[in-house]
Amino acid sequence: MAAAPLCAFTRTQKILVLSPDPDLAALFAAAFSSAEAEVSVLARGKGAIEALFIDPPDMLVVDQKLADIPGLDLVAMVKSENVYRQLPVALVMEESQLGTDIDWCAAEVDELLTRPMTAPMLRARITLSLARATRSLDANPLTKLPGNTSIIGRIQDLIDRREDFALAYADLDYFKSFNDKYGFSRGDEVLMMTARIIVNTVRAVGGPKAFVGHVGGDDFVYIMAIDRVEEACRAVVSSFDGIVPHFYDADDRDRGFIQSVDREGNRRAFPLMAISIAVVFNRDGRLKHFGEASQTAMTLKKKAKENPKSCYVLDKRQG
């Protein structure tokens, strides 16, 4: 069995199983290697709750057959705490009991396992559940693009494998003044538009291995091949500049600027939004850590920001 972690997880997944059934414990042992999952089995529900709250696992499996507390009650206790709401929970029960009176709308379980159960089926269901939870937890709620955890994981992984890549950080100039004047939902429109431009451009130019993430707010990241990144930057800048005026009201668009309030509370004129992109390169395994990449990018970004128009800055030392 595999000696590496499951899926793209960087570490062994912790699975807590609450069940008095030794057969279930044996199935878990057969389904996952120790590098993939560290499975702890507890026979009693009540005693497990405190441990669960202090050191939450990556996945919780609750047997309906628990002697001291009904499985669904325990799930409700865990899920009522907002910090554990994202924890994926599977309920185990007899298939023959599915017809009994269970309110599935109120049951906050994410996965259902029924006996009789085989090890391959258990492995498939639990793995899908873990992967799904990571995807939905990390995705940006607005654009649905991968968020920080995925971005950092992707960059660190490329660094560890000493692969050449270009890492671009993009953000918007004068986004805040736009948001202040037009409100959040108009701001969200601009972010959705920006995400579409970046994703389509990076995919078209960078091919299937290219990656786009949404750090949050107006900050985006993309990773692609070194020799194509400048072409992508040029296309993103020109598309953004062509499209963004249409997100302003006609009179502001004709004037070419908006009246809004700056950070000090003074009314002043702000130009139309622009996009600034800073690109860092990793060649011959020069970068050792994700932090180095982001720090260099931030320095470059300051340079890109000196230009009020849309522009991109490539890391000259390696570019």
Binding site: R196, N200, A204, S239, H246
Partner: protein, 279 residues
């Protein structure tokens, strides 16, 4: 006309799912999209010649799913925002007319002639985003296409009224359907969340002097419709030239000298266009 009949017909029109087009542009766009070296500009230029494909692209990009309804009026921008994947699925899901009538081909040509005129006029007048004027020109008779597809039993009746009573297609539509294609355009623009300037061009091109929000757009499309008829390119459903509203020229501040310049420019362009075939 009874209110419930009108509501029923409006419902049938807005229920349009599968709007067919003519095969020529569709085939060429699919070929182009499959080539690895084709650019967004090339694809946009081709799609801008077909009113149904253009309408589908704009309907898609302005749908709330993408998060910015009513913002995009340009085919080029729409393609950048949708990406080639979505474009491919639009192409694959578009059917062609089973029976391609001469009148339908004529309507495609008329729309393209109108679009071309609108673009030239907007550029001559230095209006911002000239491409959007040609988009509105291209789509100005879309209501006729949708009515034909969704209310096929009434189409021969409209044609009969045009021929027998010597009235315009618009008047015949009003007599038979209870509303004209300008009204259908307004419904479609609302339903598909098209930008307000496009909507105004589509729904006021027969009465541009009444347009409130984007009078320039309505006036340009009005003149585009007129010019395509003057140059006898295509067929919009009736013979002859529509009445040119003098207010349209006034609102756009077009002087006689401008008009001559436009006519010269258009003569050359319509000659080029005449070589193009939709079949």
């Amino acid at each position: 006309m009874a209110e419930d009949l009108r509501t029923e017909r409006k419902g049938r029109i807005l229920a349009v799912r599968d709007l067919p087009t003519l095969p020529k542009v569709l085939e060429e766009v699919s070929k182009l999209v499959d080539r690895p070296d084709s650019t967004t500009e090339q694809v946009a230029k081709l799609i801008s010649m077909d009113q149904v494909l253009s309408a589908k692209v704009l309907k898609m990009v302005n749908s709330p799913v993408y998060g910015f309804p009513g913002r995009i009026s340009s085919i080029g921008h729409a393609l950048v925002l949708l990406g080639f994947n979505v474009l491919r699925s639009i192409i694959v899901s578009t059917s062609v007319f089973e029976v391609m009538t001469e009148n339908m081909v004529g309507l495609w040509e008329h729309s393209l002639g109108c679009a071309m005129t609108c673009g030239s006029l907007a550029r001559m007048l230095n209006l911002k985003d000239a491409e959007e004027y040609s988009v509105a020109g291209l789509l100005h008779d879309l209501g006729k296409v949708v009515a034909t597809v969704q209310l096929p039993d009434l189409k021969p009746e409209i044609e009969r009224v045009v021929a027998e009573r010597d009235v315009s297609y618009l008047e015949a539509e009003r007599a038979v359907l209870g509303f004209g294609h300008d009204r259908i355009n307004a419904w479609l623009a609302d339903h598909w969340k098209l930008p307000p300037n496009i909507k105004e061009g589509l729904s006021y091109h027969h009465k541009p002097h009444l347009a409130q929000l984007y009078p320039e757009m309505a006036c340009v499309v009005h003149i585009g419709d007129f010019m395509a008829r003057v140059f006898e390119y295509g067929y919009s459903g009736d013979v002859g030239v529509n009445y040119l509203q003098p207010e349209a020229l006034k609102i756009l501040k077009i002087r006689p000298a401008d008009f001559e310049k436009l006519l010269d420019e258009l003569s050359d362009q319509f000659v080029e266009l005449a070589e193009l075939r939709f079949t």
